[in-house]
Amino acid sequence: MAIDSILIFIVLVAGMYMLWNIGANDVANAMGTSVGSKALTLKNAVIIAAILEFVGAFVLGGNVTETIQSGIVNPSMFEGRTMVFVLGMISALLATALWLQVATFFRWPVSTTHAIVGAVLGFGSVVGGIHAVDWSCVGSIALSWVISPVFSGIIAFLLFTYVQRKVLFSLCPVSSTIKIAPYMLAGVLLTVFISLGSNGIKNLSLSLSMGTVLLISSVIATIGFFAAKIFLAKPFREGMAIHVSELQGEQLHAISKATKHLARFKMIGAEPHASEVNAMIINLKSIADELRTRKKEESHISLEYQIVEKIFAYLQIVSACCVAFAHGSNDVANAVGPVAAVLDMIKNPGTLGHSSTVPIWLLGLGGLGIVVGLATYGWRVIETIGEKITMLTPTRGFCAEFAAATSILIASKMGLPISTTQCVVGAVLGVGLAKGLSALNLKVLRDIFMSWVLTLPCSAITAILVYYFLNALFGSYSLG
């Protein structure tokens, strides 16, 4: 019995350390965009992150946790060797924690997700044998690492192109924003709730048919739509008034077009009406001149776009919530997965992974661990990152966050452990490809690639080494 307690203690401590690490470092990459664009103050960002990371982990964290717990390495292959499996999972967790510590020290751009998957894979294939690993599961995880950032990028690109066409290129950007913002909100809510509710939510033992999910989601989206309409109806009136005086731009454009057409008419040959056409052109020119002199000097970035950004800042609060929720639902598994595997194996050594549902209290604990990491250290990382990415304004930030949140949520739903940071990076690059950001450092692509090829073997080898060390310590004992 004593050995059980020691192992449980070790795995819990290692798990809590990993959770703290995720809260301290990873959350910042997801929330920094909102702080950078000043859609959220640091305090509000931390509060939102704390609540929604917890909820995400608690409600939707189970799927990915199961994958790490029993998807990559099949526990039933360890029939009669439960101690090996338990030690292996513990060493995977310890190796990841160790590797992250080293990587942080050298500032290597690694991902927690890649580290834990690599560690579990390494121990499973070397100690358990090649057949202990479910290679089709590993294949789909590897595929999702490539697909998820690309997918986020594509969504962000399309969404930002839409915002460009509808708002930024509009001649009255404020009223266009007021017009499309409710649709945006409804779209976000619809996407989030459909991806959340499809196939039901296992943790809350909620099974929903697709029809019910669609119905509930569209009801929520409709409520959001009208709430946004009512909310935006009043406070931005002054903003709408601006475009009346700014109409001059549009008027001037129209007049210059008219002048051009008349000039063309003259060129083709306006013989009998030439003098009339000339008079008209002169007339138009004097109107244009009069309009031009009426034009006031504008400030650096005109007020209209400032108001547009203000409205998008509200939308970005919603998208920030989605990102925090999605992040919690995916990354909690990195720490909780191995813990769940060990606890499950120690408690029911006979069933070998058949009771694969993750205990709900463990997910709650996972959420709590992330929140603690966030509260003790993570807020500072969010602050530094936020200060450095001021060029990401709410229009851009909203598109990037929504795209990232969507692809992370889909991955969480499918039980695929992906790197949330890489999804956010993919989304930001998508906005950049739509010419939304003035300068993006493409060297980070090399970093991402490095993270794939470097982390996997390193954490795998570390896990194997840690396993042999633990085996030397505890290998002679048996469980139960």
Partner: protein, 225 residues
């Protein structure tokens, strides 16, 4: 850990604007030089012309900094070659101002009354066109915020057509000046004739370059909205 902030580089526009600020200094000095020229205070011109050269050199330094920092690993919202074109045009305006100032101190010319009025007009028109293109450059960050379309683009378009018109007016003035110059050519020495000709040609290039610069920015906003 992956440092997310590394993804974002500094945009090139603040550099362009800093460079343009130096060019503005050159043109402001050129204006002062012409004021002195028309007042006949030739002895003060020389010092001003040297100050202008200094400012032009400072602009050059900024230009080279921008060029060197335009690293290939950055993905920019504006095409790299277009950016280089823009900075090149900005810089050539400063060069032009320097050329004009340098030749103005070559010989203490006194313009005949008929020429002087046209020369004044030409200087004013050209410098006017330049200040319009300054407005466009100062709009670059607003333009980027608007993704190079919409109302901001419309403003740029209006300014561009305004500059194009001023360039045309400047050309007309230059034509009148040349006509007058050839009228009185027999009364001038060869050196004087050459210098007047040189002055008008080179002053006129300021509006020409300003128009070109405006057109470059205009191509950034083309067919959006």
């Amino acid at each position: 850990m992956f440092n997310f902030a590394k993804l974002f580089g500094k945009g090139p526009f603040s550099g362009l604007q800093a460079h343009m600020h130096k060019v503005e200094g050159c043109i402001a000095k050129l204006q002062e030089i012409f004021d002195l020229f028309f007042e006949g205070k030739h002895e003060e011109i020389e010092a001003k012309a040297l100050a202008l050269s200094d400012e032009e050199h400072e602009a050059d330094i900024i230009k080279n900094e921008i060029r060197n920092n335009l690293s290939k690993s950055y993905f920019l919202s504006v095409d790299r070659s277009q950016l280089l074109d823009i900075i090149h045009l900005q810089d050539s305006i400063a060069d032009q101002a320097e050329d004009v100032a340098q030749f103005l101190v070559m010989r203490r010319l006194k313009a005949p009354a008929t020429l002087e009025k046209l020369l004044r007009d030409s200087v004013n028109k050209n410098i006017d066109a330049f200040w319009d293109v300054v407005k466009i450059i100062n709009k670059l960050d607003a333009l980027e915020e608007a993704s190079f379309g919409g109302v901001e683009a419309e403003k740029v378009r209006t300014l561009t057509s305004q500059i194009a018109f001023k360039e045309h007016e400047a050309d007309v003035i230059k034509g009148a000046f040349l006509k007058e110059l050839f009228n009185i050519a027999d009364d001038l020495s060869t050196a004087e004739f050459y210098l007047w000709n040189y002055h008008i040609e080179h002053i006129n290039k300021i509006s020409h370059l300003s128009e070109k610069l405006a057109m470059r920015i205009d191509t950034l906003v083309a067919i959006k909205s």
